[in-house]
């Protein structure tokens, strides 16, 4: 059920664009937040506020990967499976979650607590392997971290919204960079010094 209050927020969003139809994606996010997933009611509400047909909203819902068309667990754990995370062990991490939670990727635990998903590159490749819980990042995840995370979530502690673990002063670590900036000429090995 999409309340009038949610619809009012949708209309406010649509008013930020020259064409209300541009509000389709953000309004669908709102509908999903309100009901847990995108329901026929949600689609009808978005159709109404954006002035588009039900079919047109549905075609958007089915195109984008973030819109759920069925209920998910209380915590959606999305493990990045793209190349940089792959190189740093995301497959082992995913298998660990599957064992710990007793489900396969793409499934939800019987008690409705956890949904486990593999997702594409989350723009955190320097902190791989990485995952998101309900949209918030957890970076540099070891299997021990994964166990601790599950316990924290079971206690009802949400993952905090915060910036990534960025190396914000990178130049400090590159002490000898200046000397080699002109190129050293040798061209054979990438081995650590």
């Amino acid at each position: 059920m999409i309340t009038e209050e949610v619809k009012a927020r949708m209309r406010e969003i649509c008013a930020r664009y020259p064409d209300p139809r541009s509000g389709t994606l953000p309004c669908l996010h709102l509908a999903q937040e309100a009901e847990g997933y995108v329901t026929p009611d949600g689609i009808a509400a978005v159709s109404e506020v954006t002035g588009t047909k039900i079919d047109e909203v549905e075609s958007v819902v089915t195109f984008y990967s973030m819109y759920d068309r069925a209920p998910t667990g209380k915590y959606a754990i999305k493990v990045c499976t793209s190349i940089s995370c792959y190189l740093r062990g995301c497959d082992g991490l995913m298998e660990h979650f599957e064992q710990r939670l007793g489900i396969q990727r793409g499934q939800t635990t019987a008690d409705g607590s956890f949904t486990l998903q593999g997702v594409e590159c989350l723009a955190a490749c320097g902190m791989a392997p990485v995952l998101q819980v309900n949209g918030e990042f957890v970076e540099n995840v070891t299997t021990a971290d994964a166990d601790a995370l599950i316990e924290r979530l079971k206690r009802g502690e949400a993952v905090a919204a915060q910036p990534g673990a960025w190396n914000v002063l990178p130049s400090k670590t590159g002490a000898s960079a200046q000397q080699t900036a002109a190129g050293s000429g040798s061209a054979q090995t990438g081995k650590a010094k």
Binding site: Y17, P18, D19, R21, S22, G23, L25, L28, H29, T50, E56, S59, V60, F63, Y64, M66, Y67, T81, S82, I83, S84, Y86, L87, R105, G118, V119, E120, C121, L122, A123, A124, C125, G126, M127, A128, G135, E136, F137, A161, P163, W166, N167, V168, P170, S171, T173, A175, A177, Q178, T180, A181, A182, G183, S184, S186, A187, T189, G190, K191, A192
Partner: protein, 456 residues
Amino acid sequence: MADSVDTITTENKTLPLGPYPRFVTRNMDVPGIDRIEVYREHGGYAALAKALQSFQPEQLVEEVKQSGLRGRGGAGFATGMKWSFLPPTSPKPRYLIVNCDESEPGTFKDRMIMELNPHMLVEGVIIGSYATKVHHAFIYVRGELAFAGRQVERAVREAYAAGLIGKNILGSGYDLEITVSRGAGAYICGEESALMESLEGRRGYPRLKPPFPAVVGLYGGPTVINNTETISTLPAIVEHGAAVYGAYGTEKSKGTRIYCLSGHVNRPGNYELPLGTPLRTLVEDFGGGMRGGKQLKAIIPGGSSVPFLLPNQLDTPMDFESMAAAGTMLGSGGVIVLDEDTCIVGAVLRMTEFYRDESCGKCTPCREGTFWLVQLLERLEHGGGKESDIDLLNDICDNMLGKCFCPLGDAATSSIMSSIKLFRDEYIHHVRAHACLVGPGATRAHAASVTPVSAR
């Protein structure tokens, strides 16, 4: 350094801000820089005031042309040149869009800018909009980057409240509205015309070009679309001047950019370096060398959409021209490092699965091609492939390259074609030994462990 090759010229040039200036990553370590008060205390929005007071829009376009700034999203097109393609007048309103849909595997710089220093982005949007005489700008943030999106939204709200966006900005008579919009999970929306479709409330299908966005773009109006890092560099260019910015880098690839280092190195992370810095400097000096003292096997220097480089190319300067000469591309600046224990077929399979999953499905060569490529690679990786599969992979790539509707199809072929060229023996080993040459797949019976396509 006066030879025709665009090598790094740090030795012979006067470098006004030292060898490693921080134009686009400056102040990111300042606590609270994401709030407008702190940002202004550190000189924030002074470049905007300078732009509005000291420059006519045309002069700003010229200044950016002089700086040599090129797009940081992947294609590397000259920013000032792109702006000058806008028709001087048009019946429909013109727009500026910032492409914050960062999702190229191996790339994680735009998310950092949005999370840590969103006001620098907003200041860049206002400067860029003024230069291109735009009165409504859009910031399209990738859906998965929720925190980054909220940071940008708050920065825009704070800037509105401070009179830096809206009517008569800083008494200049210039008006601008900024709308922050959020995607919902689709790599293809990083392609500029698909992004505009998405921003109009539709599926992210790319549009036919021409007409290019500068002529027919968002809502049919002339549209400028620039990457997050490109736009975020504008305040520094206005502050320091085109000459200072252009003193860095090479003749054709000027300035600095953020290189995103990931994979098997000791210190992965984001490093702002002058264009033309050798790969070796990034990997060994900034990245701390190979993790665990392993040997380097290959490098993907510009996000997963570009061809591999080999260890003997580690001295290649990281600028657009040198990378092209080395047979690859600088792309998005995502430098992915693979060590000796990495199975190339496995890595290529993983990258190809990405393009299969992210193909929008609009055109046949990409939709069917990526699916078929994954099936063949999966078969090879798990020891069930035939030698003819290797040539078939090349053949399918050849039938996609340049024949797809947008660059996604081309991108999917890069790692496959270059890996077959550079590591053909490793592919053949998979066929003959029914196992990988290196990595965990080399020691176990592999064919049994095929992960079904539907599992991911």
